[in-house]
Every structure is written in C-alpha cells, then in structure tokens.
Symmetry: C2
Subunit: 265 residues, 2 copies
C-alpha cells in the first residue's frame, strides 16, 4: 500500500514564533472498522486504514473468539465501507459464553477497557524463556523501528509495534496505527495468520504499557516487551508475576528495566 492510502494533505497555518506560513501538511488517516464474527457485530474501532485483516484477527484472538488458524473459514474485507467479516467453524456453544458475556456486560466505548479474566489459565503460567539480550540491542531495535516508521516520521500521529526475532535480534515486521492497542493487535494478528510463535520473540512498541497491553503479551507467551513510553504499576506487577521482562523509556542509550532483568546481559 502506498503512502497516499495512509495520509491526506491539508492546507494548514504553521506558526513559528513570529513567522506564519500557509503550507501543506501530511495528516494521518483515520477510518472506522466494524468487525463481524459469524454474522454477529462485535465492535467498531477507529484505526489506520491498513492491514485491517490483521487488526480484526488480533482483536478477535485477544478477546477469545479465535483459537487456531484452522477454524477460520473465510475473511471478507470491504475496505471502503470499513467492514470485515471473520467466519469461523468453531463450535458455537464454545463462543456463546464470550458473546453473551459481552452482551450482558457491554463494556463499551472508552479509551481503555478491561477484558482479561485474572482466572485465565494461561495467565497463571510464568514465562521461563531463556531468551537474553543486551542493552545495546534494546536501543537498536527501538531505533530501527522508529527509522522504518514512515508514517510516524511524516505525521507524528501514530504508534508503532514491531516483532523482533529472539535469536538474530532483527525486526521481522512492524505495524503502525493511530491507536496503540491497534498496532499491537496487528502484530498479534499477523503472527496468528502466518502461524508464527511469539514465545521466542520480542515485541517493541512506542506506546504506554497498561495491564491490558501486558496481558495481551502474556497470552501470547512473549518473554520481552520493550516500550519507548511509561508502564503503569499494574503492568509492572503482572510482568513480575508472569515472568515477562518489561523495559520502558528506551531513548538515546537510556532505558528502565522494570522486571526480570536477568534476561538483560
């Protein structure tokens, strides 16, 4: 997809102290994507208009609608209308609980919403990955992601999230989105679709780390999460408990290691 798909030009007035310049500026595009799961409308998300299939898959996976790629029967995207249908062969009775819980407790419409279940079995398993990395690698992964992020450099209006290999310590792919959750969900969705295990990988992001982001990582068994921004206290507590190395404020050779620093060589 070319950049015109992701940005739009606007005439703006730019002011620098006493100077006033009428100029063209590149602005990041926003669309509303409505996700359907087996004919049930699940959610509408404001997002960047790229890799919408990955966003839908990542979202449905995080929320418990999907488990494996095999159960996907069809994905239909109507990009112009902002609609995506994911059809699954998963047994309806199994998903019914997920949908009903959502209907009874809508939990809608906010910047951040709470959807993990602290009783999830997967969240009681401590990550014991022996992956290790140096501070120099942490810095260079963050630098590489930001340099490759065309949209961020052009518009300043997106978050990025990248998947990096735990062995070779290189970035495998990355996504950008106006929402920090969406960028992470696109990474998770691509891994799901391409059947890439996250258990021996590193996730790098520009966004702040709340417990909700941390839980998405824990469910995918990611051992190391690196952010340019701040974590919350709950994110640190769960990272400590779940065996995840959480690194924040990665900027110009500096960083804070909040948990499981034994993975930092």
């Amino acid at each position: 997809l070319n950049s015109s798909h992701e940005v739009e030009k606007f005439s703006i007035l730019r002011i620098k102290n006493e100077e006033r310049i009428e100029c063209q500026d590149q602005i990041v595009k926003e669309i509303a994507l409505t996700i359907f799961f087996n004919d049930t409308e699940i959610v509408t998300i404001l997002c960047s208009p790229v890799h919408l299939n990955f966003l839908a898959l990542g979202f449905l996976l995080n929320q418990g609608f999907l488990k494996t790629k095999k159960e996907i029967k069809n994905i239909t995207l109507e990009e112009r209308k902002g609609l995506v249908w994911v059809e699954s062969s998963r047994d309806v009775s199994e998903i019914k609980g997920v949908i009903e819980k959502r209907l009874i407790t809508p939990g809608c419409g906010k910047g951040v919403v709470f959807f993990y279940h602290p009783t999830d079995a997967i969240l009681s398993q401590k990550n014991t990955s022996s992956l290790s990395l140096s501070p120099a690698t942490v810095s260079s992964l963050m630098k590489e992601m930001q340099e490759r992020s065309f949209l961020y450099r052009t518009t300043g209006g997106v978050h990025s999230a990248a998947l990096a290999d735990g062995k070779n310590k290189n970035i495998l792919f990355f996504h950008e989105d106006i929402g920090r959750h969406n960028a992470i969900d696109k990474v998770i969705g691509q891994c799901f679709w391409e059947e890439i295990s996250l258990a021996d990988k590193i996730v790098v992001t520009t966004g702040r780390i709340s417990s909700e982001i941390l839980f998405k990582m824990a469910k995918q068994k990611i051992p190391v999460l690196i952010s340019r921004s701040a974590p919350t206290n709950q994110a640190i507590k769960f990272a400590q408990k779940l065996g995840i190395t959480l690194i924040g404020f990665v900027r110009a050779g500096k960083m804070n290691i909040y948990s499981h620093s034994e993975r930092i060589s």
Copy 2:
C-alpha cells in the same frame, strides 16, 4: 489527594549507556473503574485513581446517558473496589434506546471505539463563537498545563487535559489520567457537575486528536481545542465543518492551525 495515591514506588534497573543503577522509580497507578447507571453495568475503564466521579459523569454525558445535573439523584463511589453508581431520575424510556443500542451492538474492549451518531442534531450546528486568542497565549496555556502536571513530570505516564477561560486566558482546572480519553472526560464531567458552560472556554490537552475526541468537544460547544500532539484527517474535517479551531503540535513557540484560524489574532 496526595501523590502517594497516584504513584507507587518500584525498584528498577536504570541503564544509561555503560552505567547500571539499581534505583527507586515512581510509577503511575492504574485501577479498573466499573460504572453503573441506575443498576445497569455500563463499562469498565482502566484509569488513574483520582476524580473518579468526574470521570463517570463525563463518560455518561458523552455517551448520552445524562443531560442535566438536575436529573442526578445520587452518586456512590466505592473507590477501593473501583465501583461507581450514578442514579438518575431521567425517564427510563428515554435512556432505554441508549442502553439497548449498546446491548445489541456491544462495541467493546478496544483502544478506541466509535460512539457518536453523525445524525446527532448537536453535531449539525456550526460553532460561531467570537472567542479569539494569540499564538503566545496558545503556547503559554500549554506550558502552564505541563508545568502544573505533577504526575507527568514524575512518571511520564499520563495525559493531561485542562479547561481555560476564553476571556482571561488562564487555566481554571486540569486533570491527568493514564488514558487520554479519561483526562478529557474528567474535564467534561467536572464542568457538568459544577454547571460550567464550555461554550466560551478553551480545552488544552497533551493527547492525539481523533474524530471521537473532536466530537466530545463539539457536543460541549467548545470553540478552541489545543493539543501537543497530532490530529487525524477526520478530526480536521469535522473541526472545519463544525466551526472548531483545532491547533496541534504546540511545542516551544511552534504550532499548527488546522481549522478556523480566524480565531488566531
């Protein structure tokens, strides 16, 4: 509320190039707040543990559950449990549509969700406020908010939103939260509770401006919205259409005016 209520100390490993320092760091707190409206559970939000009443009121107002302060019968906050009940005398049949729409179309659980109705009558009215301000005022309002934001300076992990007077151009109050939507909702909630009209005020925020944030401003008839960050294309288009002056990237004497620059003197 003192700062210990909003931050928690953690032992971290701080790395600066070759240097490694074990130290204490102040981390921003996160709680989950569940909002009930007349016994119906509406939403659970991850947020900062302060001014939760204002957050609940701002959220319910934005979502169409509330109209005027008179209809509030009671607000009960159980802060430790993260629960708030807002009881309203508003005619149930009037709210039924809002709740049912949410139950049928749950729209849950994401970084950003879409809840405005483009047919809302209020959104067809163009803002004609004669408020005007200078670039120097824009810069100084942003600077003042950031200087006063203790949590931001301490933790780097929050967004701020402030209400400024349109005449005297001073900051009346401001709120901080781990979510950029929450900070804005707290400002709107406080105005609702204290019966302050927003029609002759300025809102200043650190967060990015999506169409959803812009619509919250439009509903409250705010004529000027100032951000430290980027807008999306949809936010600019609706600002143009709805008569709102949208200013972004306000940093060190610089700024971009995206719409209705006639209010900039």
